[in-house]
Symmetry: C2
Subunit: 450 residues, 2 copies
């Protein structure tokens, strides 16, 4: 099978994590406080995303109860269960499914993702994460805490196994076979014996509607970028400046080429935190309120407190109107916070030298994604600006309050993108590969296995 | 929370594994040959089961591609993914979800099952299996093949961890809490440190609509029965004679009492293979054809071949009309076939001394469950006979061809059971605990954890 590569167009996903990305979302007036554990809430968000022709919905994952009891849990239901339940209830919408390569077995996860890809008709993106968090490790006996190199060696082997399993059993969807249902040419053991895993195969789910699920990755350490160069088809990233996006795309291209893949193999897909208002002033005000700040000074105070807790080099006192310095934001090798969020801030400071007053409107919420604040037209313009420039394939959008702000985005921003001809008015392909213009993996890996 | 124990009534589940239980099902004329990988097929079966008010649908599981390529795979999609997708598409129907305690991590599986129990409104039965199969072990590195004692020690610890996790976080479904969303009184670490697992907890999914999923078990070895006595609320079993069912129920009661549980704590729920015809003659004929036999002599020949391959003590030649002897059916300690199927045949032979000609109409298909063959009234009578006698709660029914034979059962047999007042005409409780008259586990285990 092969697909025609479609005309390049903007791709969009929406995070549907819990009550929304803002710390104030879970008990916002009018919100059901335990909405984070209400399946109908997730289904409604997925339906809204579909009504705007969004390509996919996204959940992050944290297989431990988060310790900050003053805000709603980041995510709760297992993503595989949640998305399977949504898949049969909501057509078309894709799923960015985050799962750990440290705390799953490759056979089980390959089978679960292949099952969902088959059931959903090719709508799965596997967002592979190599967890590094002591709270998570404490729930998973044997695996324990590995250092970053070991985690990525394990993640690399995990992906090798999973990809081989996904292409290990071909059942042509044709007439009834004469003779046995499969033989050695259609179902092949993979006989993998590696440092972390021994897996015989074949998988007991046949090759799926898009070959296999699309592989996404998010880690921004040197090891993460190398892993992306080898395995990722989509990279989800924190990028706060257009130039940083170009630099990151170039790094990914170089990493892909080191692994024998052509440049442009990877779709760069940064996160954005969208604050929408009827006017820019209203949007700025919503940003302050949902961040828990009274006003801009409150945003500044919160930013300074946060940076001082993250960065030992950050000054104890600072004038909020002088340019920040990149050396204040050096990531720590042993930090449990994703390194990409730290690097994103450092890159923004290096490239654009914002003041504290400026940077609080550029980064915030959901760890530290790019803030996109304004009227519907201003939000659309900020998205199209980066996309038209060629650095990114599209965006994973986070919203302060769900489903309200997603609904507003679909109603007010998506039509502008459609009118400008950068975003489709209907689903232009049934599978994620079709929508992102990604090739089907069947041929290459089958040859390798032969 | 507590529930009123309902009036005792028959419980029924339907196996929806692949194309049906008969070896001939996958390429039966008129059947789509690769229906085993078609989600719509499973959804349709679940909808049919619901239209008959059946309590649940069931799938077995085998996380490896089965080696006999001359018949359709026993089961394919991961049960968690399959049932999650059905849960949001088909109301009411419950799910007997088979999953391995050898090849899952307790935190992940506890979370996945709790997620599905929450999403489905309390419709999950966890059928815990301690796999023993080299084909499966070869797909799961580290765990490898344990002997039976080790597997059951691991299964026991697995269940201990899972049950503690399921009750580790209470979120009352009331008004918004004042102050933090949880604290030490509502979210408790379990701090489990055992032979196989170290798990801190708490689980990041709150206590569910029926406390936690109902626990089911199927292993019939001495270790399996002890495990059932400690953990099981439902036991799925191969039982071929009414007296054997009484004996098994007594064994389970004794095992439960050894673990401090009252007699009657466990619902016995044997499998049946239903062959339905307009007349008994037609039903017998369908049994022969779906078994791949030309006639009764063919059934006899197949039975003898099979028994000789299973049992070293089985005679090389035999008159099909003399009584069989139990010593010919002694289970082998190292057999990979479930021991319950061997013991069921041996018990039937011991209790009723059938001839070969008689036994081929008593056991067959799906490993070796009780055959229930006849007209709709005869099938209903055979089910009610055992149930009215008090030994069993109900049955897990297997059908030769899906969905056709399930549809026929719902249309022709269920109305007879309803007319006799032994089976409900609508769903009498939203949760599995309500339908099976099982208590909610919250209080007891919470005290233990306190």
């Amino acid at each position: 099978m092969s697909i025609d590569r479609p005309v390049r167009r903007l791709t969009l996903a929406a995070s549907i994590v819990g009550s929304g990305v803002s710390a104030k979302a879970w008990n916002w007036p009018g919100t059901k406080w335990n909405r984070f554990a209400d399946f109908e809430h997730y289904r409604r968000s997925a339906e809204l995303a579909r009504s705007g022709n969004l390509d996919a919905v996204f959940v992050s994952d944290h297989p431990a109860l988060q310790r900050d009891a003053r805000r709603g849990p980041g995510h709760l239901f297992d993503p595989i269960v949640l998305f399977s339940a949504i898949a049969s209830a909501v057509p078309d919408i894709g799923f960015v499914l985050t799962a750990s390569t440290s705390y799953n077995s490759p056979y089980n996860l390959a089978r679960r993702l292949a099952s969902l890809d088959a059931i959903s008709g090719g709508r799965v993106i596997f967002n592979a994460v190599a967890n590094f968090n002591p709270d998570i490790a404490a729930n998973f006996t044997a695996s324990g805490l590995l250092d970053r190199d070991d985690r990525y060696r394990k993640a690399d082997e995990f992906l090798e196994v999973v990809k081989k399993l996904w292409l290990s059993w071909d059942t042509p969807d044709g007439p009834e076979p004469q003779g046995p249902l499969w033989d050695e040419t259609t179902a092949r053991t993979i006989d993998h014996h590696g440092e972390f895993f021994d897996v015989r195969g074949p998988l007991n789910v046949p090759v799926g509607p898009q070959g296999h699920p699309v592989i996404s990755q998010a880690g921004a350490s040197a090891q993460g970028i190398d892993f992306a160069g080898k395995h990722a088809e989509i990279v989800y990233a924190a990028l706060l400046s257009k130039q940083a996006a170009h630099e990151y795309a170039a790094q990914l291209d170089a990493a892909a080429q080191r692994h024998g893949r052509p440049p442009g193999s990877i779709r760069l897909f940064p996160g954005v935190n969208v604050y929408l208002g009827d006017s820019r002033a209203e949007a700025l005000r919503r940003h302050e309120v949902f961040s828990g700040a009274e006003n801009e000074d409150g945003l500044i105070a919160a930013f300074l407190t946060q940076q001082r807790s993250f960065n030992p080099a950050f000054p104890k006192s600072i004038d909020p109107d002088i340019p920040l310095k990149p050396e204040w934001f050096e990531p720590q090798e042993d930090q449990t916070r994703p390194i990409g969020f730290s690097k994103a801030v450092q890159d923004l400071v290096r490239i654009e030298q914002p003041s504290t007053r400026e940077i609080v409107r550029r980064v915030g919420g959901a760890g530290g994604h790019r803030l996109v604040i304004g009227s519907p037209k201003e939000v659309a313009d900020q998205l199209v600006d980066w996309w038209a420039d060629g650095a990114v394939s599209g965006f994973n959008a986070h919203f302060p309050l769900l489903p309200d702000d997603l609904e507003r985005f679909v109603r007010e921003v998506v039509p502008i993108l459609q009118a400008e001809g950068v975003f489709p008015t209907g689903y232009d392909a049934p599978t994620i590969r079709g929508r992102f213009g990604l090739p089907e993996p069947t041929a290459a890996v089958t040859e390798e296995a032969a």
